[in-house]
Structures are given as structure tokens and as C-alpha cells.
Symmetry: C5
Subunit: 361 residues, 5 copies
């Protein structure tokens, strides 16, 4: 379960790649998914009907917006900046907003523009090598449309697609603001899964620590500390983001939906508290490790001290009678040898008693 | 009193179970009490009369609300979501409110709805295995009624029932807001008992630590730290909840009752301060442990050093006269043997003095 | 000066005794002074006259309040709840206020009622066993009267009594609000004495730590930490209490007196800063202890290593020539014995040089 | 990569040089670049034209300000206080503002004067000896002009010059407030580079720590801690500075540009979070070091204990049969010698088993 | 440079001397300078003229205030409370203000009275024994006069006197509020000198720590920590004091002068940040000490282990052939002795290789 990794920093703690020196508003993708294909889904629905289209080129989808149904355009593949720019022009998005979409080093945030609201969230998942990955999801909420932008395929929105298709729950009866809430809720719900995985890792680590505390576990603890730090950085700003959504007074979010945002806010706080608890636990593990190392050292020292303290004086005694002086009367006593053995056994027993009393044995 | 437990995490630090992917507002019970029976008590009283009924099905109680007396409906058994939904419909409770009632991973909170106030509290108790358990109590305050929802049987409201039945104190003379205060006060009063138990545990641990500091106690300290962390998480948000109740300006809470909420607020702060003190103490215990381990190590080392330092040189001396050189004049001296003994005794005494002066003996 | 105490927790960290389950507003004494006698002093004064009476029963004092002089009623003995209730009725005090007076686990606070202001302060003193004791003083300020309630005899108000009797300072020329200030000022002034005592204890502890760092001192440090924690808990809330008095805009406190409260506020901050400094110092002492323990260990190890490193190789050499091989030419050399001594002395001197260079000697 | 440096404080932690006793408003350069030449660049541009001049004396540039184009005057060489004073007089800058420009110990700040805004930023760079250097850049924004003041040649504005010259991006179409934003953005962008360098240093340090934890690495950790502290001090106040620019309501900054400042604010927060993460990591490295030192000690002790525990008893046994008693029957047994060897081999094997079971081998 | 001091607390951490039990407003000097002489300087100036007088009795100066020039009265010698009271009466100062002047345990603060503003600052200096001393300076700003009160002779205002005398800078052209700023600025400027001294001490300490880490240095670190704590306590409240002066809207401070107070505020923040950095550094030094002690211990253990591990087995071998069994065939081999030597040399070389591989050599 737990193995030594040489490089804990394989993932940079924060994506600090940025096009230095570029003019502000320049749209450049800064992420890692540099081979992802462009893939666009369009969901257009109201209470009665739902149209679903999947596109490879952005031009095909641009005429859609004229209807008064709710439209959700989900764009995968941020490296296709041209397509994103075209979409941006169509929806009259601010250049800085577009820059933020493709610059995946953003922290979670909420920006209000005149014609839309813009939110950045982080999707967390463990990849096949059990390394925590962070993927940026940008969401734009305008009048009766929602745009979402992801770095690559694969997301946490599958059951939302199902609910739209199969008209489950309230989703088809509500506006775009409720869709945005559902998307955010899906991202936050996914954090609970991440928390569970992290919690299990901590459990495993603790068991390993009780069984056999060693150096590698310290690295594991540091690793998990850093992981929890990364998660915290991705989640903590949501507190403010969702809090502002709950209290926002612009026309994009109806009062009815705000109740749902209050619920989302509670969930966010819950996740943040859980991650704080985990961080506390990891500190506790470190303490346990240090104290168990001290303890081990104590035990080693005890063994050494007991053996040395018993045998060094005895060795001295036998040394005495190994001396070659001509005149050593004891050597000629008939029971000299047995007497010495007797004395040594007495000393031995005395020592054992002493150590018993000191609770070293 | 204190025994080694392999698994400290047997209880998840936070209930993170949640129905991932369910539509918001879906009412699903997420707790552990999956076999608890539905059990509903109805107290309907005013200054003159009191009617008490116990029901097994929610339909029987629904006509009650038409009177202008104060009604308290206490529902045990959150897994019976249908019954709770019916009750919710009857009192026109918001779906999210109902979701929060059965989702027992909520943190303590206060939500204001148009037709009611909704509060979530945590009842704490130690189960038969001395493990801290957290049970969620939801309270709904409407016009002249209070609804309470508990996961299972057994609560801290017994003396409130008595006061209603026997018309003790002010309770029958006051409205539903005073009843809500009494219920909350009972929950908070119970925290003082938990504090006392925790305080005794810390005392026991400290005594054990002074008697015989060992590795298991570190686990115990970590365990209590985590326990106090859990308690803190259950209690800390009350500060804000009760603070808001005290200052709330809606019509559910009369000005007269607010004075009582101020009192409750003081108690809450007191509990929080106590738990903080306990956390400080536990840190202090860890320090004491570490310093007593260092001390023990020092004592072990002292014994080893004293024995080794005395006997190693003596062993060398006897070794010298164990050599087999032909030409060793000392060996032929008449008192050679006794002289060597004399020298060794002098060295021995000198060493003892040295250690005395160093305060090692 | 410093002795080992087995039980550091003899005093509960916070008085958590409370009548669980009692109806709110029930007046029950929760303190330790369960044998104290009721003793009531009444000071009634204005600029010209002063009347002093001492009563054993509360009824005797009740007619007094009709005059327009300033009245100070000081009640000792909180277990006499009936007397306190009678007094409360007479002055129309709120039941919760009376409950707070006798429930001595209150934290310092200031409550404003319609007909009076109610403040809870803590008197600190060291008892004859040098244990810090906390006694609750409740003060009620109404129109031209002040009530004070203490658990038992003995307080810090002696010089105020003198000033009233002998008409020293401004006290007889001012109203009840100034009297309240004087009483509070006396309590806070007393904290400076406690601070001095605590400071001296820390000094003693530090000297002991430099002389002979040992395990008991760690307990002492923890003890003082806890003591300072207790003091802090008693004093810290005053910051807010006195701050609110300074800025209060109700009619009980005249603008003229508020200047004095500002002064009191400064003193409170000073005490709090001092206690924080002490806490910092105690942390520093712990650091000093840990580093001096490490140092001691180093010195022990040095002695062991020097002795062992010198004599173990020498013992090996003498062991070589203690072997009984038939064919060992060195044994037959005329100066073999002296040569071996020479070699051993050279090794000895070499070692000494080595340790000198390593600064171990 | 990593070498021992004797003096970690070679750079003072904060520039505390100040002309003590000088009258406030006295303009004295307090930095280190005491030989830098005066060098002034003037960029004067609007959408159509751009004029660039380079001056050695400030008088040559003073007539420029009459045009309604945007003017950027960049002054290098703060020790030429006369030139700066002349420029200050020309633009009617407040004496305290001029004092702040040349007093390079300022912390980043934003001051609003009647006729201009004044911002102090810090440029960070690693010099050729890999020591972090801090250079102060002061920026003055007035009506359609921006003045910048640097200690010496070399800055992070090169690509801004290019964009002005070659009319890339929006810069020529926008006013002086946008130019100010571009300059600030360039400074903040540069922080990302510094972060990357620092991140790499931490990585190197960690690898070195895993390979061979030693004393020098602790100094390196302290060094990087201090470096990150210095960076933090230079960057942290920007949070407030840029936040105020974003929300400022004076006429110097148009609403359109404020959107850009919001973007800059996000970047600033990102840098601050990264630096906090690095500080956390450095704490983690220290923990790893301490635990790996403890571990090494444990291993050393194990080797010692194993060897001593095995051979000390054996040496005792051979000592026994080295005694010279006349009457020692075992010595005359035919297989006495082989029996002793047998016993000793058994003891040896027993010990090995014992250590295996203790997991010391 | 660095020597062991037995008593770190020679200076009480905070001046807690206070006249317990005295009536509030009683003017009693609480400082140490109990033999200082009364010495009063009066500067009376406007743009054209300046009059300077030095007095020994306060009565001589009292008629001065009638002019409309700016008057600065500097009083040295706080123990002369009568003189201070007379001055207070003349300027109609509040009794509490006078009490604060002579009670030198005040924390820095700013009080606004109806007819004046009252500020308390702390002058810091190192005395001849290199102990940090704190002297209280009280400043009163009224309409066109400033009063300053110092405990004893010697201050940081010398260059202000010169500027007034010689009409340097703006001082003679400005009002009393500017004079107050100059005095405060002088106090704060002096802090930079203290910072520099403290910085050098930390540097010295670090060098000593790298050369030869020992117990005394820990005391030095604690000492400097406490010193920096003391400095912090004297400086930290200035943040608020100067901040309030900057934003104050009363008539004592003109808007023009407020710009200067903003500058002073920046300096104050700078000093506070520097002291925080120093505190961080001192923590770092403690870490360095602990890790270097661990390291030293490791080295000592290594030497012991190497020597013991090499020679204990060899001593066993020579012991074997020192046994006196009759039947030990090896003893009679011709090359037995040389073979044993060969084996021992092989073991020796093997051990050396082993330690080399473990990097202990």
C-alpha cells in the first residue's frame, strides 16, 4: 500500500506556469492536457423538450442561442483556444474572462460581468497512479444559458446529463441558474468522495505506523499533508464564492435558487471542516511517530544497558582471577572457583531484581 | 482504565456519507440507526391543559395543528423518510429543510424560512463502549408549534417532558419559542456532563502518565485530542447559531424569550472555553510525555555510563596482569596482587566521587 | 519552594457544575463555600452623610432604598439563596440575573437589563496552600444603588470602605456609577498583585531550571501554564466588558464616569498583555528545559564514549598477550612487556589529543 | 548545488537604514546602488504616434507634459536626488512622496494625493551569486502621465516597451491608468518566475535531504525560510494595494481598467498562496530532517546494541575459563573446550533470533 | 560578546508596580528614576522668533501660554509630582491624564480629551550594561502648545531642538500639531537604531551558534526573544495610535499635517514588520541549535559505536585463546598465533568497509 517515492514534488504545488510578458487578455492555454480533442456538447431544454447535440467544431453550435429554452454548452479541450475565442465572441464574453478560462492556474473565484457571471471551480480526482489531480472547470452563467469549460474529457456531471435527458427531479422545470447550481453541487459532492479516499489513506497510514514506525512513513505523512494542502487550496476559496452566490442580488440568480445555494454553502463548509480535521490528524500522526521513535530508542538502550550492566562487572571479576600473580591465595582455595561462581550468580540475581524494580524488565 | 486500541479511526471524523449524484432535495437518511422504529410523541399544551399522545404512524397526529395551544411533535427514527415527508407536507416545510433533517452529517446551523425557523443541534453521549457518539437533533419552530427530529430513541429532554406534564417552572405559561429554548438548553446542559467525563479522562490519563509514561498513553492522548476535536466541531458553530437567535428580529421569537437565549449563549461560550482548555491540557500532557521519555532515557544512559565507566578501566587493569610475558616483574612481587586491588579500589572510589559531583548518583 | 504534586487537576479547570435538568431561572448555588454565613453590609452615603449597617437577615435592609443617597449593599454567602431572592424581588431583578449570581461558573460578562446593569467579575487570590482560587463577584448597578454579591467573606474592597467612611478622594461626591467603577478598579488592581506573584514563581522556576533541570520542573511549568490559562480565562473577557462600559450610552453611567472606565480599560489591557507575556515565557522555559536535557544527555554520552573509546582498544591489546599460544615470540622478548605499555600509553595520549581536538574535553 | 554559507544574514532582513534625525521630507537616497548613472527614458504615445527619447539630464524632458498624449517617464538611478527633485517640482509632487521614492526601505503601498496616485512596488531577482535582491520601483500616476523610478538599470518592463513601440495589444489605445496596470502586471508576473526558482531550490533541497540528511541542510532550510519570509514581506502588502486599486473610485482609474486590476488582484493572491505553500513545505522539510536524524541515531544504536549484546556475554564466558584457579574441573574435561564453543554458538544463534524477532535485523 | 547571565528576569517583563488601593486619579510616580532632578525647557517660537528658557521650578513658566506662538514645554523628572500637578492645573488637564503621565507602566496610547490630545510613547535604549531600557514619554497637544514629560534627562529630541533654534526645515513655519509629529517621528526613528542593534546581536548569536552550539546560547536566544517581546509590546500599539492620528478628525490636527502622520504610520508598520522578522529568525536559531545538538549526539554515538563494534568482537577472540583448557589443539599449532592475528585483521578491515559503506567514516 505504502511505498517510498523519491520525488514528492513531482507535481508542482501550484500551477505557476504563465505566459510571462504576454499582453493581458492574451488567450493561451497553460495546462498539461496538450493532446486533448475538442469536444462540445449542447443541451437545450425546457420543461417539455430537450435537444442534445455533440459537435466537433464550435461554428455548428453558434446559432442555438436564439431560443428561450435553457442552453448548456459544455466544451472539453482547453487547448483549442480559437474555438473558445469564437464562442466568446458569440456570447460577448470579456477577453479577461476568456483568458481565465484557458489559464488553468486560476484559484476558485466568482467574477461578475455585465452580461454574465463567471465562476472557476476545481475538479479533484486521483489518477491511475494514485496521484491527486486538479482540473479546472470554468462556468459562465448568462441569461438562460450556461457554458462550462473543461481541460479534457471525463467529469462529474454524468448524473446531471441523465436528469436532463430523463426529466428527473426539478432540473427541467427550472432556469439556467438552477442548472449552474446543479453543476456546482456535483463538483462539491465529488469532494466528499475525495475526502473519503483521503480518510482511508490516513487510516492505512496510521495502522502502518502502529505496526512498524519507520522513516518512509514520515515521507508518507508529509505527502498526505501536502495533498491535503493542495485540496484545501482548491476548496477553501469556495467558501467565499458560494457565500457570495447565496447572497448575490443580481438578476442572474432567482431568489428561489438562492435557497439551494445556501445548502451548497453548508456542504462547502462541511468539506472544509473535514479537510481541517484531516490536517489535524496528520499532525497527530507525526507526533505519534516521533514518540514511537523515542520509545523504540528507549527500548534499544534498555537492552544494551541491561546486558552491559550485568556482564561488564562479571567480566571484571573473572578477569581478576585470570591475573598471573604468583601470590594469589584465592586461586589455591579448594572451593575458590565455586565461590566466585556463587558471587557472580548473586550479582546477576541482584541486577535482575534492580531492573525489575526499575520496570526495565 | 486505559487500554490499547488498534484502530483510532473506527468512527469517521466526520460523517461524509452523502448520496452522491442524487437530485438536490432528495430525502435520504444517511445515518447509522437503520433499524430504529418510528415513534412519535405529541405534546399539546397551554397554561390550563396538556394533552399527550404517542403515535406509531404520522397520519394520526396531523389534524392536531388547528388548535391555538403550543404543540410539540417529537419524531424518533429518521430512516422513516415517508413519515417525515408527510409531516413536512402538512407543515409546508421546504424540501431542502426535510433533506437536512435526514442527512445527519449536517453541522449545527440555523436557517430561517418564511414560515418557520430550522435549527440543527448535536446531542453528544458516550456509548456503552465509551466511544463518543454524535446524534443529530433537528428542531423546527413555527407559529405555536415545535417539531423535533431524532435519529433514534433516547434523548436529553426527559425533564422537559416532566415540566410540561407537571406544570413546573414557566414552560406552560410561555409560547413555542420558550419551548425551543428549553430544548436547546437541555442539549447544551448535557454538554457540561460530557465535559465532566472528558475532564475525568484527562485526569486519569495524567495520573497514568506520571506513574508510568509509555507508548500507549500517546495513543490515548491522540484519541482524546480527536475526541475533543469532534466535540468542538459539534459545539463551536452553536456560538453563531445561538448568537443569532439572541439577536434575531423575526416574529418567531419574542423579546422576552431573547433574554433566555442570551443566557444560553453564555453557557455555549462556557462550554467552548472549557473544550479549548482541555485541548490546551492535552497539548501539555504530550509535552509532559516527551520530557518524561527524555528523562527516562537520561536515567538509562546514566546507569550504563556509570557501570561502564567504572568497570571498563578496571577490566583493563586486570587484563594487564593476565598477560603472559615472561618478564613481568610485578607478578613476582609479594604484594603485587594486593597492590593492584588497592589501586582498583582507589579508582572505584574516585569514580564514585566524580559521579556524585556530577549529581549522577 | 518547588515540590512535586501528584494531582495537577485538583481544581477543575472550569467550574462545570451546573444543575442539569433544572428549569431555567432556578436559583441554585453551585460553588464550594457551602458553610459560609450570610453577612450583609449596607453603605448609604452622599456628600454630607454616611450610614453603615451590618445585617444578618436581608429583611432588615429592605426599606433603605427610598432615600436618594447612594446605597451599596454587599452580600456575602451565596448559598443563602432565599435571602438573595428576597433582595432580588425588592429590587425587581430578573430571575436569570439572580440565577447568574449564585451560579459561580459564569464567565465575566456584562448584561444590560431594563432597570439595571449586571456585571460578573472574578476575584483571584492564592489560598494558604498556594493554589490559585477564583471567587465570583456579581455587581448590579441600578438608579443610585449598587449591589455586590460574593461567595464568602474576604475581598479586595477594604480601601473603598475606608474611602467612603473617611470621605477620601471623589467617592462621596459621585454617584453609584462611580462606586461601581471603584469596585471594578479594586478587582483589576488586585490582578496586578496576582501578576507579581505569578512573575515571581516563574523567576523561581527559571532559577531552579538553570541549577538543576529535572522532571519535576516540567510538571511545575505545566502547572503554571495551567494557572496562567485559568487567570487568562478570568481576565480576558473583561476586555470586552470594560470596553462596553466605556462606550455604553445608557443612562446608568454618566459621561464623566466614562473617562474613568477608559482608564480601567487601559489597566485591563495591561494585565492581559502581562499574562500573555508570562505564557510566552513559560513556553520559553519549556524550550530551555528540553535543550538542557539534550545537553545533559550529550555530556553523559561524551563521558561514556571517552572512557569506552580509550579502554576498549587497550583491553584488546592486553587480551592479545593473555592468549596461551605456545608459539608467541613477543612473550619471550626481554622488553616485550614494557614495549606493550609504551604502545598503550601512546594510544592513550593519541586518544586524548583526538578528544581535545573534537572539544569533548 | 548546496554549500555551507557562514553568514546567513549577509543581507539585512529589512532595510532599516534611514537618515535618523533629518527633517521629514528631506530627500536622501538610502539604497546600495551608489554608483548608478542617471538615465531617463520618455515614451510619449497615443493611438497614432509614439515618440521615444532617452535623456541624461532631467531638464531636457520637462517641457513634454503639455501634450495630451500618454507620457511615461522612467527614471533610473535614485541617488541623483537633484534630478528627482526637479522632476517632482515640475509635476508638483508632494515632498513626502519624493522622500518615499528615494528611501528604498518602503514597504509596498499606495498613497493617494490630490494630483496623483503613488504606488511603491518591489522587483525581486536573484543576483549572480544566487542571492535574492529586492529593488524598489515607485510609480506615480497623474492625469495622462506615469512616472516610474528605479534604483538602477535593468527591469522587467522590456516587453511593455516593445508593445508600445510596435503597437501590440491594447496598450496604445488606452490611457495612463492602463499603462500603470501593465507595469504592475509586469512586476507581479515576474514574481511567478521567482516562485519557480524558489520551488526548484526546495525540490533540490528535499532530494539532498533524502539522500544524506546533514547539518548543512538545516542551514539551507533556514536560509530558504528567510528568503521566503523576505519575498512574503515584499508581496503580501500588494494584496491590499491592488485590492484598493480595484475598488478605487477616484478619477485616475477608469472603470474599464478596473476589470484588469481585478485580474491583477487574482494573480497577487495566487503568488501569496504559493509562497505560503512553500513556507509550509519548508516546515515539512525540517520535520523530515528531524525524523531522519532520529532514525539514523536509532540505526547507530541498533548496531552498537547488537554487537555489544552478542559479544559481551560471550567474552564473559571465555573470561571464566581464563581464570587460573587450581581446582577448575571443566578445564580438564576432554571436550570442555568444544562444549564451551557449542554453548557460545547456541547463545549467538539465540541472540540472532531474538534480534530478528525484534525486527532489528 | 556572549556571557552567561544567571537571572534573565532581572527586569520585570512589564512594569506592574501600581499603587494598589489608591483612589483613582491619585498622582504617584511609579518608575525607577527616583533621584532625577526636575528640569523644564520651554521653547516658544513662530516663524520669526524663538525664545528658549530653562527652568528649575514650574511656576516660572506658567505665564507663558498667553502668546499665540507655538509653545513646547518639556518636563524631565516625573517624580516631582507637585510640579506636574501645577502645570496640569494651569493647562486644565484631566486628573486621570496627570495620573497616566507619572504612572510609567502605561502602554502606548492616544486619549482624546476635550481641551487636548494625550499620547503615551515609549523611548527605547540600551543602557551601559547592554540591557534594554524603556522610558515613557507622554505628550500633550493643545491649542498651539505641546507638553512633553520624560522620566529623566536624555532623549531623542536633540535634532528637533536644533531645527527650532536654527530654523531648519518646516518646523518653525508650522503649528503645534507638526511639532507633535516631529517628536513622535523622532521616537519612531530611534526604533530603527534599536532594530539595528538587535539585528547585530542576532547575527553575533548565529555565528556563535555555528561555531560552537552550547547551552548558554539557548539562554541568549531566550533572552533576545524576551527582548524582542518587550520591544514589540512597546511598539505594537503605535500601529493603532498613529493610525488614529492619521485619520483623526478633530481640530488639533490640520489636514496638511495628516499627510505626515501617514508617513509616520508607514514607518511604524516597517518597524513592527522588522521586529516580527527578528522573532521568526530567533525561532529559526532555536531550530538550528536543536538540530546541531542532535547532530553532535549522532557524531558522539558514531565514534562510540565504531570503536566498540570493532574491538568487542576482537576482544572476544583473544579471550577465547586465553582460556586454560587442557585440550585446546589450536594453541599448539605452529602458526596458530599468526592465524588469529590474520583473522582479526580481516575482521577489522571488514568492519572499516562496513562503516565506510554506511557513511559513518
Amino acid at each position: 500500500m505504502i511505498k517510498k517515492t523519491k520525488k514528492l514534488f513531482s507535481k508542482k504545488p501550484s500551477k505557476i506556469k504563465k505566459k510571462i510578458g504576454a499582453s493581458p487578455g492574451t488567450i493561451t492555454y497553460t495546462g498539461e492536457k496538450e493532446t486533448s480533442e475538442l469536444f462540445i456538447e449542447v443541451y437545450d431544454y425546457n420543461e417539455e423538450t430537450v435537444k442534445i447535440r455533440e459537435l466537433d467544431r464550435v461554428e455548428e453550435g453558434l446559432e442555438i442561442k436564439t431560443t428561450d429554452t435553457v442552453t448548456w454548452i459544455n466544451v472539453n479541450g482547453l487547448r483549442h483556444v480559437n474555438a473558445i475565442e469564437k464562442l466568446g465572441d458569440h456570447f460577448e464574453l470579456h477577453p479577461l474572462l476568456l483568458e481565465d478560462i484557458v489559464n488553468v492556474g486560476q484559484r476558485p473565484k466568482l467574477d461578475e460581468y455585465e452580461n454574465c457571471m463567471f465562476a472557476v471551480f476545481k475538479m479533484l480526482y486521483y489518477n491511475t497512479e494514485d496521484v491527486l489531480k486538479v482540473e479546472q472547470v470554468s462556468m459562465v452563467l448568462g441569461d438562460n444559458y450556461v457554458l462550462t469549460f473543461q481541460e479534457a474529457d471525463g467529469d462529474v456531471f454524468e448524473h446531471i446529463r441523465n436528469r436532463i435527458k430523463e426529466d428527473k427531479g426539478r432540473i427541467r422545470k427550472q432556469g439556467a441558474d438552477y442548472l449552474l447550481f446543479c453543476l456546482m453541487d456535483a463538483v462539491v459532492d465529488n469532494y466528499f468522495l475525495i475526502m473519503e479516499t483521503l480518510g482511508e489513506k490516513i487510516e492505512d497510514l496510521e495502522e502502518a505506523l502502529i505496526d512498524n514506525p519507520n522513516d518512509i512513513l514520515v515521507h508518507q505523512i508529509q505527502r498526505l499533508k501536502r495533498e491535503s494542502l493542495n485540496i484545501r487550496r482548491s476548496i477553501f476559496p469556495l467558501r467565499e464564492v458560494v457565500g457570495r452566490l447565496e447572497k448575490s442580488d443580481n438578476h442572474f440568480i432567482t431568489e428561489n435558487t438562492q435557497t439551494y445555494y445556501r445548502d451548497l454553502y453548508d456542504h462547502t463548509i462541511q468539506v472544509i471542516e473535514t479537510i481541517e480535521t484531516y490536517r489535524d490528524m496528520l499532525w497527530g500522526l507525526m507526533d505519534m511517530y516521533m514518540s514511537s521513535v523515542s520509545n523504540k530508542m528507549n527500548n534499544i538502550m534498555k537492552v544494551l544497558t541491561i546486558i552491559a550492566t550485568i556482564f561488564i562487572p562479571l567480566t571484571f571479576i573473572v578477569g581478576v582471577y585470570g591475573m598471573n600473580f604468583e601470590n594469589m591465595p584465592e586461586l589455591h582455595y579448594k572451593n575458590g572457583y565455586y565461590t566466585v561462581w556463587g558471587i557472580m550468580i548473586l550479582i546477576f540475581i541482584g541486577m535482575i531484581f534492580y531492573f525489575k524494580r526499575k520496570k526495565w524488565l
